[in-house]
C-alpha cells in the first residue's frame, strides 16, 4: 500500500513539475513577443533602458499597491495577493516617509530659550517647558535640535544635540518618557539660511509627540 502511494505521489509531482515548466516556457515566449505587461499569468514587461536606450525585457508580474495610512498619518504600500498580505513604508528616495500630517507637537524657538552658543535653559524657560510636558497627553517624545548654517557643521551638530538634551532633561524631570534625543545641526533647515528671518526659524528644537 505504501509503495503504491509513493508511486502515485511521484507521478503527481512529475506532472506538476512538467506543468510548471510549461508555464515558464509560455511566460518567456510571451515576454519575447509582447512588449508591455500582460493581463493573465506569467506576465512579462519590457522596460526601456534609461542609460543605454536599449530595450530590456523583465519577467515579472504587475503588483499595484494600495496606500494605507497609519495612525501617525504616514503612508504605507499595501498589497493583498489572495492569501498573502504585504506591507512596507512609503518613503521617498531619500528615505523620508511620506506623511499626510506631522506629529511635531512643539517647536521651541531657540532664541527664546537659549543664549547664543549656549545650551543652558533658564529657570523660567524650564518652568515653561515643564508645563508643556505636563499638559501633553503623548506617551513618549522624540526631541531633535537644529541650528542655522553659521559656524561649522560639526559645531552645529554638537550644539543642536546639547540643546535637545537640555530639553530632554526637563521632559524627564516631569516624568515624561523620552524615546530619542537628536541633533541635526544645520542639515535639516526649515527655511532659507539666506535671510535673517529664515535663520531664526532654523534655530529650533522640535518635539515629536508619540501617541
Amino acid at each position: 500500500m505504501a509503495d503504491i502511494m509513493t508511486k502515485a505521489l511521484r507521478a503527481i509531482m512529475k506532472g506538476a513539475a512538467i506543468a510548471s515548466l510549461g508555464a515558464i516556457a509560455i511566460a518567456s515566449t510571451a515576454s519575447a513577443q509582447q512588449y508591455g505587461y500582460g493581463t493573465a499569468t506569467g506576465i512579462a514587461g519590457a522596460v526601456q533602458g534609461v542609460a543605454t536606450g536599449t530595450t530590456r525585457t523583465v519577467l515579472g508580474e504587475r503588483y499595484i499597491p494600495n496606500i494605507w495610512v497609519d495612525p501617525d498619518g504616514c503612508e504605507h504600500w499595501v498589497m493583498d495577493d489572495g492569501v498573502e498580505g504585504y506591507m512596507t513604508p512609503h518613503t521617498n528616495r531619500q528615505g523620508i516617509p511620506v506623511c499626510r500630517r506631522g506629529n511635531v507637537c512643539g517647536v521651541m524657538n531657540s532664541d527664546q530659550f537659549f543664549a547664543t552658543d549656549s545650551f543652558h535653559i533658564s529657570g523660567a524657560g524650564k518652568q515653561q517647558l515643564a508645563n508643556f510636558f505636563r499638559s501633553s497627553s503623548a506617551s513618549a517624545y522624540i526631541i531633535a535640535g537644529h541650528t542655522d548654517s553659521r559656524a561649522s557643521d560639526a559645531y552645529n551638530m554638537r550644539l543642536s544635540y546639547n540643546r535637545a538634551a537640555s530639553v530632554a532633561n526637563v521632559a524627564r524631570s516631569t516624568g515624561a518618557r523620552v524615546a530619542d534625543v537628536r541633533g541635526y545641526g544645520e542639515r535639516m533647515p526649515r527655511a532659507s539660511n539666506g535671510t535673517r528671518q529664515g535663520m531664526a526659524q532654523n534655530r529650533r528644537v522640535e518635539i515629536i509627540c508619540i501617541r
Partner: protein, 103 residues
C-alpha cells in the same frame, strides 16, 4: 464514510482557495473574499521588535501585515509602548471573517 469526509474536506479547501486565492489580477489594493474591503481601512496595533522599536501590525483574518513605524526623519520609532516581542492594540479588529482566524 471516510471517502465522503475526504471529498467534503477537499471541496471546502478548493472553495477557500477560490475565495481568497486564485487569479486576482494586477490590482493588489483590495482584500477580496470573505471580508472584502479596500485595504486603506485596515486597523493596526503596535508590535515591538527585539530592539525595542515599533512596527504597525495588522491581523486581517487570513492576511497579516507588518510595516515599520518611522518618524518624520525616517528613523525607527522606539516608543517603549510595550516590552520587546509584544504586540499591543486593536490589530485584530479589522477583519469581519466569520469563521475567524485559526491562529
Amino acid at each position: 464514510m471516510k471517502f465522503a469526509k475526504l471529498t467534503l474536506a477537499m471541496a471546502l479547501v478548493s472553495g477557500l482557495a477560490a475565495c481568497e486565492g486564485g487569479q486576482i489580477g494586477p490590482d493588489k489594493g483590495l482584500d477580496r473574499g470573505f471580508d472584502a474591503k479596500d485595504l486603506s481601512q485596515l486597523r493596526a496595533g503596535i508590535w515591538v521588535d527585539p530592539n525595542g522599536c515599533d512596527h504597525w501590525i495588522i491581523d486581517d483574518g487570513v492576511e497579516g501585515y507588518l510595516s515599520a513605524r518611522l518618524d518624520k526623519y525616517g528613523k525607527p520609532v522606539c516608543s517603549g509602548a510595550a516590552p520587546a516581542n509584544v504586540a499591543t492594540g486593536p490589530f485584530k479588529g479589522g477583519s469581519t471573517f466569520a469563521i475567524g482566524d485559526p491562529l
